[in-house]
């Protein structure tokens, strides 16, 4: 039982960590684009990014399940071309989590970029620096607290995700069984003690992470002004 618990917790945090690491560069790219663009497509992109906030997770899980199904053309192509099966696998969980946690990464970064004075970017251009140099050396260092907030909320949200994971991952120990599913599982089996062990662990860890973020951000702001 103890090893089951550890295995599940490790898997949960591994999923959250990988999702956060992949989403960070995606979030920076999309957040920068959305903060700068004047394109007519902007509301469309914003709507897509925000959809996971309002859509029931089961809807997304359902469509991903259909899309990744080995009976489907896309699923068949994935399996024949890359030998990847995304349904009921860890890879599938990662992709589903990336899509589902996207707004949690993009929104703080986008508002961080938007809050910076336009003249910072322009001053860097006038000093002869390219867009990439400007983003890397001037803009990103000035939105550190947004980056931290975005990463931590994405991480915590992925740890807490239930619906999508259940739909696309199933409940395979060591492969796709994460803590939130395990709690549900143990309650179903009337093992309230184990369920509580999972629940309390998640409760304490997420609280600690969020507390740390708020403390660090507060300090950061103090040292800046």
């Amino acid at each position: 039982m103890e090893s089951d618990f550890l295995q599940t917790m490790t898997l949960t945090f591994k999923l959250a960590l990988i999702t956060t690491l992949i989403l960070l560069p995606i979030g920076i790219g999309l957040g920068y684009y959305l903060s700068q663009t004047k394109s007519k497509l902007k509301p469309v992109v914003e709507a897509f990014v925000s959809m996971p906030l309002v859509l029931p997770p089961s809807v997304l899980g359902f469509y991903l399940l259909i899309a990744f199904s080995p009976k489907n053309e896309f699923g068949i192509w994935l399996e024949s071309a890359f030998d990847i099966r995304l349904v009921f696998s860890f890879h599938g969980l990662v992709i589903a989590s990336i899509i589902f946690s996207l707004p949690f990464m993009v929104h703080p970064i986008q508002s961080g970029f938007s809050a910076l004075s336009r003249s910072l970017k322009e001053a860097s251009y006038i000093l002869g620096r390219s867009t990439i140099q400007t983003v890397w050396y001037v803009l990103l260092p000035n939105i550190k607290s947004s980056l931290l907030t975005a990463s931590v909320i994405t991480f915590a949200h992925t740890v807490g995700e239930f619906g999508v994971v259940l739909m696309i991952g199933g409940n395979i120990a060591g492969e796709t069984k994460v803590a939130s599913i395990a709690i549900y599982d143990e309650v179903e089996a009337l093992n309230y003690g184990v369920a509580n062990q999972y629940a309390l662990t998640l409760f304490i860890i997420t609280f600690t992470i969020l507390l740390a973020v708020y403390v660090i951000n507060k300090r950061g702001i103090r040292s800046e002004f």
């Binding site: 322009e122 001053a123 251009y125 002869g128 002004f225």
Partner: protein
């Protein structure tokens, strides 16, 4: 020589206006673009910098085409040899003063240049300070120092002194003039402060609703302003020009210029920048230092 012939539709709080400028600026000039907010003066500066794109027209600087809508030429901001001092100075908050200057350096081997410029602008002591720990006047000096790192031909100044108090403003105006002369710059300043225009520039473009309404020396541009008919007013002396045996004293009163003819004896103890009382006695204005 900068040749500008551009057109751009602007959406301002007063509605849609068309910015239409066709002017030449001689190298070495200190030109002020003067006008109310929303008249298009900052946009004109941004167009020269390549930060805004005109709807049509041309910008040619020393026979080099920076912008030509008919040929599809638009040289990027990075490749235009300009300095730009923003109203909010735009110092990078994550870098020290020294690093702000270093960021502007193309070749890191030239780091001795950082020391030279820091020294010249009296910023050596602040070199390791962060921008948000220094005063407004110091920030402005750093912003100018940073633009000088790239040896610009043209210095563009977007109301860089508007946030400072009068004493600091006057000091920095002198510094801007020194830098302008020492580096042989062509400077273009956006301002709505008449005394600043008189002090700094040799040419003024007055702009209203996107059109140039007058062009010339500060004296000629502002002499058309309504003369004040009050008996007693106070103002600031902004220039004293000798005309034959008389002196013409320009005095700024509530954003209007009063011209007073005076003899040497009356203005002996009056200097530019002094506050004076202008009063009329038997139709002869008399200046009294206050």
């Amino acid at each position: 020589m900068i040749k500008i012939d551009i057109k751009k539709t602007l959406h301002t709080s007063d509605g849609k206006i068309i910015l239409k400028i066709n002017k030449e600026i001689i190298n070495g000039d200190f030109l002020t673009i003067f006008g109310k907010s929303g008249s298009g003066k900052t946009t004109l500066l941004r167009i020269i910098a390549g930060l805004d794109i005109p709807d049509s027209g041309k910008i040619i600087v020393d026979n080099e085409t920076w912008f030509d809508s008919s040929k599809g030429i638009n040289i990027s901001t990075q490749k235009r040899n300009i300095g730009f001092v923003f109203q909010d100075y735009a110092l990078f908050p994550n870098m020290t003063i020294r690093q702000n200057l270093e960021f502007a350096l193309n070749n890191k081997k030239n780091s001795h240049k950082i020391d030279e410029i820091l020294e010249m602008m009296e910023l050596t002591n602040l070199s390791n300070s962060m921008p948000n720990t220094i005063s407004g006047g110091q920030k402005q000096r750093v912003a100018v120092a940073r633009t000088l790192m790239r040896n610009p031909k043209i210095l563009l100044l977007d109301e860089p002194l508007s946030a400072l108090d009068n004493t600091m403003r006057s000091k920095l105006q002198n510094e801007l003039l020194t830098v302008h002369k020492r580096f042989g710059l062509t400077s273009i300043l956006v301002s709505h402060d008449i005394s600043e225009v008189f002090k700094l520039s040799n040419r003024v473009l007055k702009i209203a609703f996107g059109q140039i309404t007058s062009d010339g020396s500060p004296n000629s541009v502002f002499s058309n302003l309504n003369l004040s008919g009050k008996f007693k007013v106070t103002g600031e002396v902004i220039s004293i020009v000798k005309a034959d045996i008389l002196f013409i004293v320009n005095i700024l009163v509530n954003n209007e210029i009063i011209k007073i003819t005076s003899v040497k004896k009356d203005i002996e103890n009056i200097n530019i920048g002094d506050n004076v009382l202008v009063s009329s006695k038997a139709f002869n204005p008399i200046l009294t230092k206050i």
